[in-house]
Assembly symmetry: D2
């Protein structure tokens, strides 16, 4: 359960008290505010704040005095033009702030996107909760034999069961030890020193959950989503990216539409790929041997055209 | 006049239609929204949007589920602690978007602060207005003889008048030529080619006004303000920084208070300076010769203690 | 003439004294060091320093103890793989430092690439030289009627001559006035106050030359080059990008090769474009009307396939 | 043992083959190149590459054609001036690349410094080594009762021994399980599926060692060092910062000297602190009650003056 009843009560209280503002308001974003979208077994994504909407992208692109909107249709055309021609600065004029609860190994991938602001729950200062990511058996797979950094065939039920036994057992034991080390009294209630939290945390495995506030502009968020909502991304981060895609689609529908068309659903062709394509459109049969591409490139090129 | 009646009407329209939101609202910021604060002779600063408030800084620092506020007093103490100990990430959780009209030579200084988002009015696409910064005679000063990159004594009235004549004359002439080059008809109305705008703009001097949307998080804004609201900053950028200080003080009063105490009004002492201070507090007379400092350092050290 | 005899003597002296190092050395980069490659009428690009080479990209990608090189062929394959799959961090492990002399209006475009380090010649502190960009008549063109921010047909010889007369006259006059304002004696030799340089510079037009040291990592440099060596970039910045492309091709030939294939010579297709392509490859006739694209998109799509 | 004999042989080979370069060379840095400076029980810091030296800082600050050096003394004065007046861009003109081996929980603190380039060893692609940080008993301490995120009194020998038993036992067990999960044959040699590495890694605790290439400019490195070589930083990252300080002191001695004086050894006083100081220098007795400071601030203020 990602959110406790107390936390849900806090969320409900926040959602119950709208206030007035003169700022740009996105109705699509408002409906998500504070709500915890569950991800994995204990994680979530919560929209905490946002700045701007589709019109704000156009307003900045036009450096307008007023709203900058001419018409919704006109705005959508401008947004598609900006996306197609790599004009990134107008998209930077929108900003989003999320509260995310996620396993540490996912957080370690996520943080490699540096152009964002992050405030993580401090395990020097606070005690981490006993919550660990346990994969659904359907997600337990062998090392891929094609892609050196991905997953291949599913594990057999026996092997899945063995893996889950290990993960559960080690999580329970390492957390028990963590709690014992920081405890300020022994099992019999006698006072003892508690190991400093900044040290004790080192015993906790990477599937323990952490949480952070993460704030990013729309351009850099799109970059994150293109890489992490991609089929090659690790499943455990992709599910977060998918949830964020849904929030963004409601927040800035025109910008998300352009992103989906030109980035998520689009493809980059190399000069070699374009040359092959031009030959193919003239009716020529092109093979890997005559393409000038390596086997890997050719396989990916075929994937794009399929 | 920084804002035309048409622009003022657009501003008034925006200020007339509040909407409901569930986001954090800062009443201090709301009252500034869209209003053009005049700066220099034709410039302005307008608050276009903001994200977060004092409570949002604490909310992120505590990675809270709810508002994160315990009490205003408690929050202020936390904010002062964060500022004093260089915890920058909670301040990054607030964001501000400004529309600024400013002379090009000021824009060139401003843009050196890279951790911000900018959308500038495009002189490749659009025609610049005939608006040039003309310094007030009180601001016309000679090169400083102490500080190699500042101003010293005021110019005599004669010299001031000569400088203003030059600036006005050259502004008028270069703009006339700019307009002539891009014009698509000659003075007699016959059609002619207009020089591409991306070329014609090269004839315009650095005191012409440009404008941009500028978006920045509060931590980086404080860094900008510390350098640009400083007495050593060039007057023409300092007046912008001063106006922004006033907006920020209304938007996030506790954070601004901590900034004013620890950064704007504070001072950095070197190891040498601290050693001198410790001797002075013991009653020792310390001079530049016995301080281990250069003359420049000593003069600045004296300034801090005065 | 971009470089004076004195400056050339300094360059020659630097090139005459090699030293020993244990660092990665790129012979292709060494031959460029310090040499001023002329650009436009008074500008240049000079390679001042570099860090890393093709092998250093692989070394970082493999987090190796030693050189990280297996074989040149193997390295090239890895580099192409990294480029194709948007692995940007290994390319960030190479760094380049350039000394660039360029017109101010070009510098204003250039600086919008924020992920770089810049030290510009200070016109608060120093006096700018009397050097202005005067376009070659072949570069004087009218505003484009298709692309709202580009150039179209060349100007007629008469109009070209008129434009050059204006640019030359205004450059001479504004510089004369600049020199007069900062002068510390009058034309007759009597002492006078010189206007502070930070003020006087405002009279100088945007075609005056400035210079800076610019340092950037290879990933961000590729991003700069993709946008600025592109046919849609303004000619006056494109010629700088072209010169830098040549330096980079000598410095890191494998990385540059991958960049040229996947980025410079490649193309991005949208989801709509891919769908059209798949229909076309099956022999279907697709027109703009049946493509789902706007006219602008369709024209660009046709350009990619041509 | 941080480096194996094979790795040492690779290091020795790299150090045996100097090459010629025309770039700026720092003899102080050359002597560190590739050498592994041991940190903690299995970690190290290795200098892989550097760009620039003290003279390069001045060269950029002066935007020089040649070396930019006037004299060593003159350069040192300029560097101190730049540091004192927060001119950060000349320091950004130097760059350093390190290979660091460090526990994961230290890496998680380190990565929060975002203005740097990082390539980490991939546990999706590769198998992590069986190496865990085990604190020296002298470093095992209780949670601080003053500072909520630090260490206080040392643990008793009994409690230390218990903590080390736990850490060693859990490290051994979780690694055994990690190895078992990814193994492609069972204990009896029969083939089995190996769990994907990207999943298996989640069982490993935060004291396992990872490694990365880390590249940063000198300005941002100074910022890192000021925070992480500070007495309030966690011991396990401070020891890395201390080793890097030594390398930097040899690489750019003048810049490091200025940094040590103005940042590491200096202090920031608030406006309130300055006001107290001025009263104290006039002979007034100032107490916390009359200082206007909170207890925490006053304690820190006393620490600065002691």
């Amino acid at each position: 359960m990602p959110v406790t009843p107390d936390q849900q009560a806090e969320i409900d209280a926040l959602r119950a008290s709208p206030r007035q503002t003169l700022r740009a308001v996105s109705d699509g974003a408002e409906k998500h505010l504070y709500t915890a979208h569950p991800v994995l077994d204990h994680g979530f994504v919560r929209l905490i704040d946002y700045m701007g909407d589709d019109a704000a992208i156009c307003q900045a692109a036009r450096v307008s005095y007023g709203k900058g909107t001419k018409s919704v249709q006109n705005d959508e055309g401008l947004i598609r033009y900006l996306m197609r021609h790599w004009h990134s600065t107008p998209f930077e004029m929108c900003e989003i702030k999320l509260h995310v609860k996620l396993p540490v190994f996912v957080a370690r991938q996520w943080i490699r996107h540096r152009t964002a602001n992050v405030n993580e729950y401090s395990a020097r200062y606070s005690i981490l909760d006993r919550e660990f990511y346990m994969p659904d058996p359907s997600q337990l797979a062998a090392q891929s034999t094609i892609n050196n950094q991905g997953r291949g065939a599913s594990l057999t039920p026996d092997e899945s069961a063995r893996v889950l036994d290990i993960l559960k057992g080690d999580a329970a034991q390492t957390y028990d030890h963590y709690a014992e080390m920081i405890a300020e009294e022994g099992p019999d209630g006698t006072p003892k020193q508690g190991l400093a939290r900044e040290l004790a945390r080192m015993n906790l495995p990477a599937n323990i959950y952490t949480q952070w506030y993460w704030k990013v502009d729309l351009h850099n968020l799109f970059h994150f989503l293109r890489l992490r909502a991609d089929a090659h991304a690790q499943y455990e981060i992709r599910v977060y990216a998918d949830v964020i895609c849904n929030i963004v689609a409601d927040w800035v529908p025109a910008a998300y539409g352009a992103f989906a068309d030109y980035r998520l659903g689009g493809a980059v062709l190399s000069a070699k790929g374009l040359a092959c394509l031009q030959r193919m459109l003239k009716g020529e049969e092109v093979t890997q041997e005559t393409s000038g591409m390596s086997k890997g490139e050719w396989r990916e090129f075929q994937g794009v055209l399929a």
